[in-house]
């Protein structure tokens, strides 16, 4: 604040001196006529060991902008420090590189359209860290959130993508591909889902064993922390919890919501939704699943303020049991992601167990009892989770169970694959390992089948639109011509991924919601960037420095 005051006093003095004819204070004559210098810029990028591609891409952009006479540098920043800067009260940053991971609930467009671009979230602490504010866009983002008719909603999402592509509030650099493998000699009929990969909620239910050994062995390189659904904080726990606990709705491999532990739902009106429960479900301890359990679970998650689901539960106003198998949800306002994001994520917990627990948030839940397709058997932290198939389940499952094996390093998993100790990986292979498996030296990976799915998440360079020069739309468009999208994909990612572009937040992998008709700024053309700047009134002074258009 003080800085700003001194700065403005200084400016006033400078102006006074120039007005009085003190020409020697400023440079050559013609520079006086020009706009202000483009302020110096710092890009907070990633540490090379944390994300090599982001680090490199930031460096490339710095070089391009330096050629155009912009004073710019990249500052590789630790992830936690970067989040501090982006979400902190001060909001002190010019530009940054970061990414949104392709978690399953982000297949619903609400997160990438509303949460990260709506002006309501543009204040410090909000997810709109680009500080993008456009009332026409806001109207569409609100409309898609409130539209319960999925086709109409899609139309709004399409239009919103159009605006983002024109306004370029961020520049998407690339998306990764989820490259994974499984043992094709032991199993077939696997399901591969964008953003999810092979170990999604369908593969264990539908996979077909080809040998007498019907236990699926899944490798992970990430530790599981807890099996308490109220305390689980990462997608890795949820990938297992959703198989032990059941959910009212699941997203099909084609990303359509389908009733699962329910026979169906009725949208009574925009803010009232009835869910009809199946009547043939039992918890693993033999107790019938009832509407009471559903009501109890949702209220528990709301009462206990479970952070992981906070934004999906916030719209719920009331939960009533209207008949034996029907639960009526009343919403505070129309919220379209209720079916695709809320009902597809909240598990059904047994009331008769959880109501007797003093502090559910801290409960260890050493032996989870759910009503899902798999029954918990054993969990050793840092080693493995063992589950067996629920033979009473309403769907027929062909395997006898699965073991979720936790390895310390991807190298360990590679060795285990070679030794036939593992049937499937649950994480994305690193490029070096993809090449090793593809080269298949000595035929030792003959038994493996490699699968590829595009990630719906993306990595991007974001700007602080509250600051010059990023408040200038033409400058952002020019920037989108300075990013070498092919370099990112072909060189840095070895081709395993997809290209980025200006304002591209929903990519082609998310087939249902992606709008292919929108023209995107996604060509690398520094000459064109220069032209755009010239057309927009940017000039270069006698020192070759870029100056803002004169107001």
């Amino acid at each position: 604040m003080i800085k700003r005051v001194t700065l403005s006093i200084f400016l006033v003095i400078v102006l006074l001196i120039t007005a009085c004819g003190g020409k020697e204070v400023v440079g050559p004559d013609n520079d006086v006529e020009m706009g202000d210098l483009v302020p110096s810029i710092t890009i907070l990028s990633s540490l090379p060991e944390a994300n090599m591609v982001n680090y490199e891409m930031a460096q490339e952009l710095v070089e391009e902008l330096q050629k155009l006479g912009v004073d710019i540098k990249a500052e590789p920043t630790d992830f936690a420090v970067l989040l501090d800067r982006l979400y902190g009260e001060e909001g002190d940053y010019d530009a940054y590189t970061i990414g949104w991971s392709g978690r399953v609930e982000r297949l619903d467009p609400d997160m990438f359209i509303h949460s990260i671009n709506h002006s309501d979230n543009a204040d410090p602490g909000g997810n709109n860290t680009n500080r993008y504010r456009n009332s026409a866009f806001d109207a569409l983002a609100d409309a898609q959130r409130q539209e319960m008719d999925i086709n109409k909603r899609r139309e709004y999402v399409f239009q919103a993508q159009q605006i983002l592509a024109e306004d370029v509030p961020n520049i998407t650099l690339y998306s990764r591909a989820n490259v994974q493998v499984y043992d094709k000699e032991r199993f077939d009929n696997v399901v591969n889902i964008p953003g999810e990969g092979l170990f999604n909620e369908w593969t264990p239910m539908w996979i077909n064993p080809l040998t007498e050994d019907k236990i699926l062995r899944v490798a992970s390189n990430i530790n599981l922390d807890t099996l308490n659904p109220l305390a689980a904080k990462s997608v890795y726990e949820w990938r297992n919890l959703r198989l032990i606990y059941d959910k009212l709705v699941r997203l099909s491999p084609e990303i359509e919501p389908i009733p699962w532990a329910a026979t169906g739902w009725d949208v009574v009106n925009d803010t009232t939704i009835d869910i009809h429960l199946r009547d043939d479900m039992k918890f693993h301890d033999g107790v019938q699943v009832t509407a009471e359990d559903v009501k109890y679970t949702y209220e528990l998650f709301i009462d206990r303020k479970v952070e992981y689901f906070a934004s999906f539960l916030a719209p719920i106003d009331s939960i009533e049991i209207t008949d034996e198998n029907t639960v009526r949800f009343g919403l505070k306002y129309p919220y379209a992601p209720f079916i695709t994001n809320t009902l597809t994520q909240i598990p059904i917990l047994p009331k008769h167990i959880w109501e007797n627990i003093d502090d559910p948030n801290e409960y260890a839940n050493e032996k989870p009892i759910g009503s899902g397709p798999f029954i918990f058997e054993n969990f050793r932290r840092g080693e493995e989770l063992v589950v067996k198939t629920n033979k009473e389940y309403f769907e027929e499952i062909k395997i006898d169970g699965y073991i979720f094996n936790i390895f310390a390093s991807p190298e360990g998993v590679l060795t285990a694959l070679e030794l036939h100790n593992i049937d499937m990986v649950s994480y994305d292979l690193v490029p070096a390992h993809i090449d090793l498996i593809k080269n298949n030296d000595g035929g030792k990976y003959n038994h493996l089948e490699m699968t590829e799915a595009q990630d719906i998440g993306f990595f991007y360079i974001g700007f602080n639109l509250d600051r010059e020069p990023f408040n200038n739309k033409d400058f952002r468009i020019a920037l989108s011509y300075l990013v070498d999208y092919d370099l990112a994909l072909d060189v840095h990612l070895n081709g395993y991924g997809s290209r980025g572009g200006g304002g591209l937040v929903i990519n082609a992998a998310n087939e249902y919601w992606y709008n292919p008709a929108v023209p995107i700024y996604d060509t690398y053309d520094p000459e064109r960037a220069k032209e755009i700047l010239e057309e927009a009134g940017f000039t270069w002074d006698s020192n070759g420095k870029l100056r803002m258009p004169k107001e």
Binding site: Y87, T226, R381, E383, E384, T415, L419
Partner: protein, 323 residues
């Protein structure tokens, strides 16, 4: 003697308090928000603030420190931010695996180191001696993860003699300590990592033993033993080695602290579910309670082993006494 031990324990307590204070402030000077690793940044700001509140990170540093000290006296390290479980429980789960691996490796290193070091001093100046020194130094200097990977490649992948990963065959369900650690399956899994760690550790006892042996061998009483016509092996191991052991013992006790650090990479390569791996992760995740707890326990262990070394001195060398 008892008075000496009491005095040492008293200073140990003060040292632990000092170390804990340093660790406490060291972690809090690390830049970055610990909630970044606990929850996804996409959750609303209110929820993040709630978390900070729940973990007490909104309180003043002084208040946090006094709470930390109060809990420490009751041996309560708090709950891990990341796991949401008490730190003592997490460490209790992990420490047996690390200690078993460490002591097996140290036993291996010390048996070979002491016997080999004595023998090398005896064979001073021969090719065998320089060969022994070179080999031990190669294993000391080679990156332990590389040796580990090579061992896995040779013995687990090519020869298939031993398993190369984890602590036991997957799917095995044992509950008690006995069922988990006292099985043939566990021993098989223990062999490769403890050999790798042992080879990494062996240079220290070997070289110290050799040096102190050389000193002892030049003493008069050894010449006397020769003159008496005693058997060579008897002079070597009964008369000389016993007196040469003292520095090896102290070094060994001090070695334990660094040994735990040295195990981190080996635990990583062998997917060994131990403490080392978890400490590294806790620091990266800004999981203050877990990292603090683990470091304080390791520091206490080093101090305790120092005391053990001092007590062992008296037993091994009757000339030393503490008042």
């Amino acid at each position: 003697m008892l008075g000496f031990i009491m005095k040492r324990i008293f200073t140990m307590v003060i040292m632990i308090l000092l170390v804990s204070t340093m660790i406490f402030f060291l972690f809090r000077t690390m830049p970055g928000d610990p909630t970044a690793f606990i929850v996804d940044p996409s959750i609303p700001k209110e929820a993040r603030d709630q978390l900070l509140e729940r973990y007490g990170l909104n309180d003043s540093l002084w208040k946090q420190y006094t709470i930390f000290l109060k809990d420490l006296v009751r041996l309560d390290f708090g709950n891990s931010f990341f796991y949401g479980r008490p730190v003592t429980v997490i460490i209790k789960d992990l420490i047996p695996a690390t200690l078993i691996l460490m002591f097996t490796a140290m036993l291996f290193a010390y048996i070979i180191g002491i016997l080999g070091g004595a023998w090398m001093a005896w064979k001073r100046g021969t090719k065998l001696e320089s060969f022994g020194i070179t080999i031990s130094l190669i294993f000391r200097s080679a990156p332990s993860f590389w040796v580990g990977l090579m061992m896995i490649l040779i013995f687990a992948v090519r020869l298939k003699w031993f398993p190369g990963q984890g602590m036991r065959t997957s799917g095995y369900t044992g509950e008690t300590f006995r069922e988990i650690f006292l099985t043939l399956d566990f021993l098989k899994h223990l062999i490769l990592p403890s050999i790798v760690a042992g080879l990494y550790f062996v240079a220290t006892p070997l070289l110290i033993m050799r040096n102190s042996m050389l000193e002892v061998l030049s003493e008069d009483y050894i010449e006397m033993a020769h003159a008496k016509g005693l058997k060579e092996s008897k002079i070597l191991y009964r008369h000389a080695a016993r007196n040469a052991l003292l520095p090896v013992i102290t070094a060994g006790a001090l070695f334990i602290g660094s040994a735990m650090g040295g195990l981190v990479l080996i635990e990583y390569v062998f997917s060994w579910p131990g403490l080392g791996r978890e400490i590294q992760r806790a620091v990266v995740r800004h999981d203050y309670p877990l990292a603090q707890g683990a470091f304080i326990i390791i520091a206490s262990l080093v101090m305790f082993m120092n005391l053990v070394a001092d007590v062992l001195y008296v037993i091994l060398d009757p000339r030393i006494s503490y008042k």
